[in-house]
């Protein structure tokens, strides 16, 4: 075995590189190398110094900063101070020449100052950084008494009684650093020194512990109970890892470089012994370690500073505690667990704490967060399967600030304990220039973006009826990463498993599965496919299937892209995605009315129905298929069309036919009559008279003028089908069609009490009417948006009829308190509504009708 090399084995400071290489050859890395390096510099500085002033009186050579702590990286700055007694001033030039000049030849950055004790104190008064640097002061050579004099004065002037001031200075620097380098440890190219979770965080903590508690290092903090044994071990390991990285990084870059640049990462990974594996690259393994350790440092120092702030807290901050629920209270704007042992007997408190934090908007107190981390082993299968627990979790996802709460859940480790599938992506790096965040942070960032889209894209968000599923999909969409190709499909399977565990309903599971599985579908299609290809849009529409799912997928796509990195989302991509979204939305929105958009497949379907209907009709019955449009045929099953055809024969003797039946969620009406002006208005008027709300309607007119209207209704006053007076309604409908019923005055009497109904707190929706001549080849398309109220459809259709407008098809949609009605119409000459003056008049008339109260 080789004997250890010592500093004196090298002659002069110029041998520094040689010394470092020799140490490295001997396998010395990490903290030992820093010390060896520091000892080497010490040794040569001291011998130069002693040669120049043999007695050493009146002068002291002091190391500051990192050099003071004996943490000297290969290219670290060397902070030196030459302290002198004013009486010895004339010897100064010779001494400076002897000690400092050789340092310059090493090529290192040397920070040096030549000061008396008084000058030091003057400098300290002005400069916070110098005050901090003084904490690490260390005597290399020279007068002990001069050095002690300096440190004693420093202590009495700047430490005793000025702890709060020191803390404030420290916190101010921390915030500055966060602003400059980002709040998070997960940036693509972390700065080992300045980033969150880097060396500065470690040093700030140690300095503050020194000043505030008089604890000189981590071990002392551990003994004083500031760190638990667990925390201490984890922290030390993280610190050691960062030291090795920084050492290596200086070597690799051949200069003082503390940023882990993208191009260095692969080489670093190799140096740390990682190899490429099937599912993960060496560099991804390595970066995962880096992020994990920086996360440890960041979380530990955050907790520490919150602790110190509390210890030095101002008295006026002390307020009375307020109990939120048994075991949980609010004090000084923080959520506290009243008794730390409680969580062991009542593990449901984990989620309750986060839920209360989400509900009240107040963060968890650091001690409560520590308690959560220390007791994570209590998060078991029971808790993960608990419905009650899941309800709280889903509720906090749609609370006002899910991002903040989820971040606390992730930082405490609770999130991965509750959803173990997420542990796979924790701190997981993706080695490319697009993904700025690790996967876990990206998922949280997606939640953050969704949170913002609620306001930015309120229109689209209004389509979403189950926001908790959207946010859950946001949180889980990349859960399948870390296993190689196909993360979307794998993620969907995992998400379904998670959804089942927390007790989602079947349709919720399906939506979640759909969103995760297709989260790249829209952006891929928008950028790689021809959006003018109608077949493609139809295929997309079939795949997405509902407007709500489309809206969810669209929002998720935007949030995902924005949360990936600054280069991924831009106006250009937004424009393509919006185009695709609108095209699919239009197809989905008009799915059952617009013939020409459905092209070939619809034609084939219609032919199939014709064949079927012919088969079903009694032999001998001849039927003229030219009566029926394709979209009519495609809107009903063949058996129903046969019924319509059979019924129609009775219209020779009867004005109107009404059929009603109870279906699963509403009551279905079929009204058939010879078409006449105002027919639809009369039908809707009678329905309103009988307290029936129209939920949806399909309006068709055969070519021979037979109107076939199917209307889904529900009663505004009773849920019992049998209680509805169907006979009376039928009777009045007959009267109305024969024009023997004063609908207007009856409705007015009837609705008077309802019309004075006070408006809710909800914001009023502006009514809107559009008339579009482009959407359909044959008809003008009128769209009416308005708040819903009883009788509104009567008012709209009556107005249309007053203008002599014929309604050929209609689609009635009601969503919550809003109606979206689409009418395909022609004027009384059978033409589109092209005349601008008439168009405007009609628009105003309809606006008046929907606002009419």
């Amino acid at each position: 075995m080789q004997t250890a090399i010592e500093p004196q084995d090298f002659t002069g400071l110029q041998a520094r590189r040689q010394a470092l290489d020799a140490y490295w050859q001997q396998g010395i890395s990490g903290y030992t190398l820093l010390r060896k390096h520091s000892d080497f510099v010490d040794h040569h500085l001291a011998s130069n110094f002693e040669k120049s002033v043999p007695a050493g009186e009146g002068f002291a050579l002091v190391a500051l900063g990192g050099f003071g702590r004996k943490e000297l990286y290969p290219f670290s700055d060397i902070d030196l101070m030459l302290l002198y007694d004013p009486a010895q001033k004339e010897k100064l030039p010779g001494l400076v020449e002897a000690t400092l000049y050789p340092l310059w030849d090493t090529g290192l950055e040397v920070g040096h100052a030549v000061r008396t004790v008084d000058e030091c104190m003057a400098a300290a008064a002005e400069d916070f950084f110098f005050r901090v640097a003084m904490l690490d002061a260390r005597l290399i050579a020279g007068s002990v008494s001069l050095y002690t004099q300096l440190t004693e004065i420093y202590k009495t002037e700047y430490i005793e009684g000025r702890r709060r001031e020191f803390l404030d200075g420290m916190l101010e620097q921390r915030i500055k650093r966060e602003n400059q380098y980002g709040r998070h440890t997960y940036l693509l190219e972390p700065h080992i020194k300045e980033s969150c979770g880097g060396f500065r965080d470690i040093q700030s903590m140690v300095w503050t512990a020194q000043v505030v508690f008089g604890l000189k290092d981590l071990t002392a903090m551990r003994q004083a109970g500031l760190l638990s044994l667990e925390e201490f071990k984890k922290f030390e390991k993280a610190q050691d890892y960062l030291i090795r990285i920084r050492n290596r990084l200086h070597y690799l870059s051949d200069r003082k470089n503390d940023q882990l640049f993208f191009e260095h990462q692969e080489e670093m990974a190799q140096a740390f012994g990682f190899t490429n594996e099937k599912d993960m690259l060496a560099v991804e393994h390595f970066m995962r370690e880096v992020y994990g350790h920086m996360q440890t440092i960041s979380v530990t120092t955050d907790l520490f500073f919150e602790h110190v702030e509390e210890v030095l807290g101002r008295e006026d901050e002390q307020k009375m505690a307020k109990i939120l629920e048994p075991g949980i209270e609010v004090r000084n704007n923080k959520i506290h667990l009243v008794n730390t042992e409680l969580i062991q007997s009542k593990p449901q408190l984990f989620m309750r704490l986060f839920y209360q934090s989400a509900r009240t908007g107040k963060p968890l107190h650091f001690r409560t967060r520590k308690t959560i981390t220390a007791n994570l082993y209590r998060v078991d299968a029971n808790l993960r399967h608990s419905r009650r627990n899941a309800k709280l979790f889903l509720a906090l996802l749609v609370a006002p600030e899910p991002f903040r709460v989820l971040e606390e859940m992730l930082d405490t480790g609770f999130l991965t304990a509750y959803i173990p599938e997420l542990a796979k992506v924790e701190s997981l790096a993706q080695h490319d220039v697009y993904h700025v965040f690790t996967v876990d942070r990206h998922l949280l960032q997606t939640i953050n973006e969704l949170q913002q889209l609620i306001e930015e894209d309120a229109n689209t968000y209004a389509e979403v009826n189950s926001p908790h599923i959207l946010f859950l999909a946001g949180l889980l969409h990349d859960v399948g990463k870390g296993f190689g190709q196909g993360h979307a499909d794998r993620g969907a399977d995992l998400a379904r498993k998670i959804g089942e565990r927390i007790g989602l309903k079947t349709e919720e599971l399906d939506t979640l599965d759909f969103l995760v599985r297709n989260h790249l579908f829209l952006s891929h299609t928008a950028q790689r496919r021809d959006l003018e290809d109608e077949e493609l849009i139809m295929r997309c529409a079939r795949r997405v299937n509902t407007e709500e799912k489309l809206a969810m997928l669209y929002l998720l796509t935007i949030a995902d892209a924005r949360a990936t990195g600054p280069t991924v989302w831009n106006d250009w991509k937004a424009a393509l995605l919006l185009e695709l979204y609108l095209k699919i939305a239009l197809v989905l929105g008009r799915r059952d009315i617009s013939g020409h958009e459905q092209a070939r497949s619809a034609k084939l379907g219609a032919q199939w129905i014709r064949d079927k209907v012919s088969e079903l009709l009694p032999a001998g019955d001849k039927i003229n298929f030219t009566l029926f449009s394709d979209d009519y045929l495609l809107s009903f099953p063949p058996e129903v069309i046969v019924e319509h055809i059979t019924n129609a024969k009775k219209l020779d003797t009867q004005d109107v036919l009404i059929f009603h039946e109870q279906s699963t969620e509403s009551w279905s009406l079929l009204v058939m009559a010879k078409d006449r002006p105002g027919l639809l208005a009369r039908i809707f008027g009678v329905l309103a008279l009988h307290n029936l709300n129209v939920l949806a309607a399909k309006i068709f007119t055969w070519a021979d003028g037979t109107a076939v209207d199917t209307i889904e209704v529900s009663s505004a006053i009773s849920e019992v089908y049998e209680w509805q007076d169907w006979a009376a309604m039928e009777n009045e409908l007959h009267l109305a069609i024969k024009q023997r019923l004063g609908l207007e005055h009856r409705l007015n009497q009837k609705l008077a009490p309802l019309r004075s109904k006070p408006l809710g707190t909800q914001k009023r929706l502006a009514a809107k009417v559009t008339i579009d001549n482009q959407a359909s080849e044959l008809y003008s398309v009128i769209e009416v948006f308005s708040e819903d109220r009883i009788g509104i459809l009567y008012d709209i259709t009556k107005t249309l009829s007053d203008f002599g407008i014929s309604i050929y098809r209609a689609r009635i949609g009601t969503k919550a308190d809003q109606i979206v009605d689409v009418f395909y119409v022609l004027d009384n000459d059978g033409k589109k509504i092209e005349d601008p003056a008439f168009k405007d008049e009609l628009q105003q008339g309809l606006l008046y009708a929907v606002k009419n109260e």
């Binding site: 229109n459 209004a462 389509e463 950028q527 790689r528 496919r529 021809d530 959006l531 003018e532 831009n570 106006d571 250009w572 991509k573 424009a575 393509l576 919006l578 185009e579 609108l582 939305a585 239009l586 929105g589 809107k768 559009t770 579009d772 769209e783 948006f785 979206v820």
Partner: protein, 112 residues
């Protein structure tokens, strides 16, 4: 030497790139651009909200080629980028005075 600038539909990028590789074009600069020509922007109305698409997203390719190869490159791009519909794009040919490879200092044809 000429610089060929082609504005094409985004989804045609892969086809065009592949076709150009096929005739030996090894390098190009690609950027995401927006604009309008005969294929004007348009207004979409959905659920009462107006969405105005005033500039249409396109991809711009920039390729430097030796003059004899210009026609072949233009033809290749045309073939690969064509859908036959409005908005298929445009190609511009510009003269280039000099090309210099930064690393080696090579000039002219050698540097392409």
């Amino acid at each position: 030497m000429k610089k060929i600038e082609a504005i094409i539909k985004p989804f045609k990028l892969d086809d065009v790139k592949e076709a150009l590789n096929g005739i030996g074009i090894k390098g190009m600069t690609i950027s995401e651009v927006k604009g309008y020509g005969r294929q004007k922007g348009h207004k979409e109305i959905y659920r009462g909200a107006e969405y105005i698409v005033d500039f249409i997203p396109k991809v711009k390719l920039e390729i430097i080629v030796d003059t004899p190869q210009v026609d072949e490159v233009i033809e290749t791009i045309c073939q690969a980028a064509k859908t036959g519909k409005i908005g298929d794009g445009k190609i511009f040919v510009l003269p280039v005075d000099e090309v210099i490879r930064v690393r080696t200092g090579e000039k002219g044809k050698e540097a392409i």
